[in-house]
Symmetry: C2
Subunit: 621 residues, 2 copies
């Protein structure tokens, strides 16, 4: 199939899915009666139920199973915290403005659209031009503000809505800003992620865990990004639910005690080398990936495996799920390794979970800014003798020599590494003075032997103090749910074959409603039986919908299939009823007083439909 036809098919499929989702209130554009706000969506009743099922399973699969410490921190965050984390300075996108109307656009989006459009729609494009556009697309994320601006100018790109000229690109901070308290002098932001709330609590959480590593903290909550121009419907939104795990571990030991639980898993992985070499993702065994160093360490590998199990349990198609390693240029300088769980949907491969080894970066940043040491201790069974480098600057001498710059020179001397210090010691001994580059002064100064004493001493140490590494799996819940919708969406012909019927094949775990109850015909006796069944479902904590309209049973099945309800109970007698399974349309006949417990069994995972199918007589309508 040619690419244009493929794109068309994807678009048609997406329209079918989103039409169904919006018509059945899985989601609603927020504040619709006021014509909405771009990038804000409500979860309507079935969507809200799916979300709460996904979150409940997340808690069971991660928090409970791993004994994680779950916390719940506010969204409103004072500036100092996000200054330390780097968000105030760096959480930006480059923006261009329509010079006449003031409308704002993301600079990289305009350039990307321009190049894609040329490649897809211009049949006469010379080969070297095509190569150039492909190159621009490949390096798009690496372009500086100036480079982006130059390309936009070179290609004559104008504002898409008006064709007016555009301003040069400039950074726009994506955080929603506000002010805390009445005075107006305490700036705050709506958090762009939940992780910072965990980092600032590290000291207390470590204590709560008995001062032991490793341990993980978790948080589910809202996060906010004031996108410049939200696109891709439910995938790029301005407010969303994150579920984040911060697993704190000794940087010298990143093994995981439960790694053997996932060691045999095999799934699509897309290592950095394969991407660079232009190969495709391939099935790799996770323990081999760790053993070969493709995945940096066991703990990272363990979480990749657990994320795979989580997503496939929810109903994500394992053939449209891959773990893609970040390229060197995608990764923050401090990160040891980073893998994204990407799910393929009509928009392409979408990052839904990021699993990063962030090393000690975050805890160090907050230690520096707050002055509170966020560190862990390892007590030695026996005191250990350790050779320590001792650098003692002579402050008086340095003061006389460098006056106002004394502090910077002292700090630079104290910051010397072992190799540099021992070299200086040698030079001072042999020549009496040494040249020394003080970065903070941006010049080379001369240090003489009276200005610093350098030595090595053997010291007894009772413990090791270190900043833990953080391994962070971070889940975009809304994106996972949207991909789940696409992977669960099916179309089949109606019984008489003259209509196309939609249905969502959600597993019972995530289905918004577990079953519907229908009296076959409108009569008081059947309705009373239906209500009796409804009461026992409530006792078991099973969500249901009762439909006593006089509509044909076929139409009622279709309605409930479209909501992804896995089971339908039809009351056609006072003593026994039928249970119909959504995907197979098979039916069994069950006594009224057993029906709730059968539904419980097949919805809470104790049994499958296959298990109960042979226990009860089948029913054909």
């Amino acid at each position: 199939m040619d690419p244009a036809q493929q794109a068309q098919n994807r678009e048609t499929f997406r329209q079918a899915v989103t039409n169904t989702l919006e018509r059945r209130l899985f989601y609603i554009p927020s504040f619709k009666i006021y014509r909405g706000v771009a990038g804000l969506y409500d979860y309507g009743p079935p969507g809200c139920a799916v979300k709460s099922n996904v979150l409940a399973f997340w808690r069971q699969h991660f928090v409970l199973e791993e004994n994680m410490l779950e916390v719940d921190c506010p969204c409103v965050t004072p500036e100092v915290v996000l200054k330390a984390s780097g968000h105030v300075d760096k959480f930006t996108d480059l923006m261009v403005k329509d010079e006449k109307t003031g409308t704002c656009y993301r600079a990289d989006h305009l350039l990307k659209d321009f190049c894609k459009d040329k490649l897809e729609r211009d049949p006469n494009l010379p080969a070297e031009k095509a190569a150039e556009f492909r190159h621009v697309l490949a390096v798009l994320d690496d372009l500086s503000s100036e480079e982006l601006g130059a390309k936009i100018k070179e290609y004559g790109i104008t504002a898409p809505d008006t064709k007016n000229p555009l301003s040069a690109p400039y950074p726009f901070n994506l955080m929603f800003q506000t002010s805390i308290g009445p005075s107006g002098v305490s700036p705050g932001y709506m958090r762009p992620e939940t992780a910072q709330g965990i980092f600032v609590n590290f000291k207390d959480l470590y204590y709560y865990n008995g001062n032991k590593l490793p341990f993980a903290a978790a948080q589910i909550g809202q996060a906010f990004r004031n996108e410049i121009s939200p696109r891709q419907g439910l995938l790029r939104v301005r407010e969303f639910t994150l579920a984040e795990i911060e697993h704190f571990v000794d940087p010298e030991d990143k093994s995981h005690p439960k790694f053997s639980d996932v060691a045999n898993l095999e799934f699509l992985m897309f290592p950095r080398e394969d991407q660079v070499a232009g190969r495709s993702a391939r099935r790799i065994n996770i323990s081999e990936a760790v053993a070969q160093g493709v995945v940096n360490n066991e703990t990272l590998g363990y979480f990749i495996g657990r994320v795979y199990l989580f997503l496939t349990h929810l109903g994500i198609d394992k053939d449209r799920l891959r773990f893609r390693q970040h390229l060197a240029n995608e990764m923050a300088h401090y990160a040891a390794d980073c893998w994204d769980a990407e799910i393929e949907c009509s928009y392409g491969w979408i990052e839904c979970v990021g699993i990063a080894d962030r090393s000690a970066y975050d805890l160090r940043a907050h230690t520096d800014k707050s002055g509170v040491p966020l560190v862990a201790h390892e007590k030695f069974p026996e005191p250990r003798e350790v050779e320590k480098l001792i650098i003692v600057p002579a402050k008086k001498e340095l003061g006389l020599a460098f006056k106002g710059n004394q502090k910077m020179v002292v700090e630079a001397l104290e910051a010397m590494g072992e190799k540099e210090a021992m070299e200086m010691k040698e030079t001072l001994k042999s020549k009496g003075e040494a040249a020394f580059n003080v970065c903070t002064l941006d010049k080379v100064v001369t240090i003489n032997k009276n200005m610093v004493s350098i030595s090595k001493e053997i010291k007894k140490e009772h413990q090791r103090v270190f900043t833990p590494s953080v391994i962070e799996p971070s889940f975009g819940i809304g994106r996972i749910i949207y991909c789940l919708y696409e992977h669960s969406f099916n179309i089949r012909p109606s019984r008489d074959g003259d209509e196309q019927m939609n249905f969502f094949s959600f597993p019972p775990l995530v289905a918004p409603i577990k079953c519907t109850v229908f009296p076959l015909v409108q009569n008081q006796q059947y309705e009373e039986v239906a209500r009796q069944i409804a009461r026992s479902l409530t006792v078991y904590g099973i969500s249901y919908k009762i439909d006593i309209t006089g509509t044909s049973i076929g139409k009622r099945y279709a309605r409930t299939d479209e909501l992804g309800v896995p089971f339908a109970i039809t009351v056609d007698s006072a003593s026994s009823v039928t249970i119909r399974e959504r995907d197979s349309k098979q039916q069994i006949r069950v006594n009224v007083d057993e029906v709730a417990s059968v539904i419980k069994e097949v919805t809470d995972g104790q049994s499958t439909w296959g298990d109960v199918l042979w226990k009860y007589p089948t029913h054909s309508s």
Copy 2:
């Protein structure tokens, strides 16, 4: 006991509770390493677990049991929505500023503190002065900005921190303001309540419910209030979780089909008349309260009963829970009736749930602002003949007579009720003209018979179109949890009697962790059994904590009691173990392979401790 001593005892008790809560990380002042932010708190691991248990029970008790439509809307809200709801104009507190430092205070708090202080601490206060202060306290909420300012001036109240003079009071809007999108021209706010997200979706939700009334929608989510100076610790905070229900009902029929389920409940109620007459709250049967019109209608009464059941199931002491009716001056002008569930704690009686009949106010406000009719329809089985009042203003005549005021006169004529209109018709007939008060012009004009035609016509109607009434139970989850902590907090002597031990007597439903697992002594066999039990607890979805430290078993019990863990499993053999109940300290002996199912039984509400106590041999240590 004299009031001062009582206040002192309350303070001591509160200190004991909050010290325990903070030490065991039930809560943590947010961003503590940066010296925190007033009015922002984190839920630490046990607090977060309690919260999620409370919310899960809320979903079971309200959403599932009543088949409510749960939705999930964003916190970021555009201005137009909150303009319509009245929050932009009226969600304010009166503030005064220290004229030198700029520090802000709530004007009413300063006046309240001044009066209370005088009454409590000045033994020589003349009787008439005391009466005056008491009067000020009683009418505090009704004082206008000018009256508050005058009192502050009269009493010479200065800034509490500096004794500097204060500015006159002025309104401060309590919403956190922000800006949506990059242009800076779309103001938005962090929602002050979740209700508006439901109201704006009424049309879709009504359709989802098959265009049938009554139905209820529900939402759990964060809400934000930028308090001027947060006080009362965890009770008055700047960000909090609300759980709100909007029950839409035909204003002509506020009966409730399940009212009989709560009809026999009896609990402390505090009707308006009793408050005004200076009487105390008293036990009233809810069906009598509805029958006598003390509670406005059955639906309101039903929810009061359901809220009572919800709170007492969580562990709120029924003798420290009352339902207080709003006084006329507390209630919004449009409200039909309003009751607060108030819980007594060391801060006094605290509003934790508001249950209000808000009539048609909210839906009408959004209908007016958006132009989208948020209405319900009642189809008549047979068309009905209805007598309709027809008022047709003669715009031309009115224009000539009133020029620029024409529009106001036309609107006032059209807005006449039946009685007024028929009187005018009579007067116009007999005298040829009539005096007519136009409120919007604030004057009486003369209408002559050429200016308006008034008649009654018989029309056939097929349906009734009306704006539903809303009954809104709104739960402050954080406040309920804090009161629960106080009601569950106990102190008892240690076994040797020389220490005071704290424990929280949470019911299993809300306990943060359901059980702990202790090997009696550190040995590999016991630890293996402990891990085996832990695995089966995980399978059952039961949260546990395993404690393999070598600390004495008594100390380990004390630690877990202080977290409110209801059951402790001690491994003292490879075949059977003991289960200890927290409050009674009773122990039973259970086989290793049965223990998880026993814990499941007593924590999910199938059995009580009393039920299992006689089934298994008791154990005395």
